[in-house]
Amino acid sequence: MTPSSSIAAPGAAPGHEAHHEHGDHPSYLVDGTTVKSWLLTVDHKRIGIMYMFWVLLFFLVGGIFAMMIRLELLTPGPTIMDAMTYNRTFTLHGVVMIFLFMIPAIPAIFGNFMLPLMLGAKDVAFPRLNLLSLYVYLAGAGFALWGMLNGGLDTGWTFYTPYSAHTTTTVAPVLFGAFIIGFSSILTGMNFIVTAHTMRAPGITWFKMPLFVWALYATSCIQVLATPVIGLLLLLVSAENLFNLGMFDVARGGDPVLFQHLFWFYSHPAVYIMVLPAFGVMSEVVSTFSRKNIFGYRAVAYSSVGIAFVGFFAWGHHMFVSGQSTFDAGIFGALSMLVGVFTAIKVFNWVGTVYKGAVEFTTPFAYFCGFLFFTVFGGMTGIAVATVSLDVPWHDTYFVVAHFHFIMVGATIMAFLAALHYWFPKMFGKTYHEGWGLVSAALIILGFNATFIPQFLLGNAGMPRRYYEYPERFQALNVASTAGASLLAFGFVIIALYLVWALIYGKRVDNPWGSKGYEWLTASPPPTHNFVGPQPTYPEEPHFYVDPKKAEVSDAV
């Protein structure tokens, strides 16, 4: 593939520091250094970086809450806080992690940064809307955090009625904050869909789009189609909490199960908003570090769309014990399992890609291995909890907590960290210390397992979720879980340290992986308008690593 060498770095001559390039085509990082040039930018790359700052900050906040929960559960009785504080803490952990970290993490940071680069576009279709979505996100976060600091709420992140309509804690501002964040999510999704439809460079057909773009496209469809419904629901519950309208209040003829239907109609697909971009990242990483074209490109692309589609028909599995008919429960169980089929298609194709590949065991690849384990293990327990007869005893126990942390958090965090390490050189033109990367990856994967495998056992033994105190027989496993969480936190501290170090003192690089992804066809960090000089041409598929001599054994589809 010739273009990678000929157009690789016209604007950014490699040097030893990033800030000396004040030539004709400075990188996006140094093109304008005032605060205003960042805050009012419409450059998708700068918006991605700003998202990164805030999303990581909220991740820290959510992580601190997580550690507080784990510390509280270290002993059977009260440990570091009272029961009400505990209720608020796990609610805030859930709200912050889901709405402020997991949902925007990969699409808003890496999607914003990479999508136009991968499509050979100069920007997303609506750059100003893109900036707006960042500020809408921050406004929503501000609302939610304000509510949390002024009383907090104790409903759990699911805001189940009728409790959320009656509790005296500050429900309305947090719900309203989540509603606003939903707007941001819709705007980003719309922007990505329109960008994929209208901004593809000549030569990039639908089936030459990188798989990360396919995953983002499917994610955006879910964002656009599901978010309005929860938006309405959050408005109704806020109104209910403020004015006592009775919409979901049994005493006034309302139906709390209706709340659950509307809530999970969004929140189940929301799981795929979190995990589909993760799948997309992994498709990029696995082909890059196996030096192979992705096995079954079309199957991987279609399965993203398939998951997005089926994901809309699976919400009822959250309500197996809410008075659903047996028939409904069976149907929802079967539909939920279909997601497993599509996920399996992906997993087998990734494994097929690694098979006979020239694997380079880098930090992103280490996260891919962790990701594979979490996806398969979390996915299999997903099939288990989609089975009505099994879910009834496991419902609202730590088994479910462990399950969704494995598939949703485990897989997404693995992909987030893989993306962070894989694209760090692309975003900043510098590289980090590989040894530390691998050490922290090992710590995080181990820590994650040590945190949540005990929770599977706890749930199976009958410990309910969200309980403040527990019988002493559960203590050993809780201590193990807290120890694992500490290991996990330690891993994140190491990453923060060496990445900040790399940002300042890192070695200057352009394409350290020799990646053939379309986003590497420009300089690292990219110039403001993404490409300098002639537009790159795209004669080959995005994951084309196969040696021409071995073309006959290629897995290209």
């Binding site: 419409v42 450059d43 576009a121 100069k122 920007d123 279709a125 609506f126 750059p127 100003r128 809307l129 819709i186 719309m190 922007n191 869909i193 329109v194 439809h197 209208t198 901004m199 656009v224 189609l225 978010t227 309005p228 419904v229 938006g231 309405l232 629901l233 408005l235 109704l236 109104a239 004015f243 006592n244 309208l245 009775g246 919409m247 209040d249 006034r252 003829g253 309302g254 139906d255 209706l258 239907h261 509307l262 403001t528 308008h529």
Partner: protein
């Protein structure tokens, strides 16, 4: 980067730097608007789901409460809103021909009818506040004492208020475009996207009402 707009040949249409051509830009704007309208419909769809669920639970209350609404006012409002949709569509027609003054006139008429719609809605609301057919715990009407009647009015007020909110947003959008048409006169065969999108939004407002009216007043 997008500040580097380059003015194109006719009608003041501007091509943003990151688009390949005006056609692509127009296509993107239209696609974005359709997606946005889809999200708006889904927003109301949540309310329709609530309506359906509670209608199923309280059929008698639904029948009785629905009859208590003022069918005449509702019908007039429906006619007013459909007519306003027609004038909004005419505005697009004139924008394509570059007749900016007519675009302004058409949107002015649309706004007038939108205002009439809100005034009629105000009288309907006022009447309900007076007799006490109000949502949830504020309900104090003696005429209908069937279980579930307050729920009907919860759904009624939630959906009509959300719709009225959309009417107000739509009026703001159309007013801005109207001023542009009168003051700058910059719409023409190559530059009518703003008029078209504003008008599309107005059609949505109209469409939602076309669903709400039979749901609440007729069935």
């Amino acid at each position: 980067m997008q500040s580097s707009h380059s003015a194109s040949a006719q009608g003041g249409a501007k091509l943003a730097a990151h688009f390949a051509s005006l056609d692509v830009q127009k296509h993107a704007a239209r696609l974005g608007m359709w997606l946005f309208l889809a999200t708006e419909i889904l927003l109301f769809a949540g309310l329709f789901a609530c309506y359906a669920a509670y209608r199923f639970l309280f059929p008698e209350a639904w029948a009785a409460s629905s009859r208590s609404l003022d069918l005449l006012m509702g019908s007039i409002n429906t006619i007013v809103l459909i007519t306003s949709s027609f004038t909004a569509a005419m505005a697009v027609h004139y924008a394509k021909e570059g007749k900016n003054k007519m675009v302004g006139h058409m949107f002015f008429l649309t706004l007038l009818m939108a205002g009439a719609f809100l005034v009629i809605k105000y009288f309907e609301y006022k009447h309900k506040f007076h007799i006490g057919t109000l949502p949830g715990r504020y309900y104090f009407y003696d005429g209908i004492q069937v279980p579930g009647a307050p729920m009907f009015f919860t759904v009624y007020f939630a959906s009509t208020a959300l719709h009225a909110f959309h009417v107000i947003i739509g009026m703001t959008v159309l007013a801005i475009i109207m001023v542009r048409a009168y003051r700058k006169g910059d719409f023409g065969p190559n530059n009518y996207t703003a008029v078209e999108l504003g008008s599309m939004y107005w059609h949505l407002v109209d469409l939602v009402w076309i669903f709400l009216f039979p749901m609440l007043y007729l069935v």
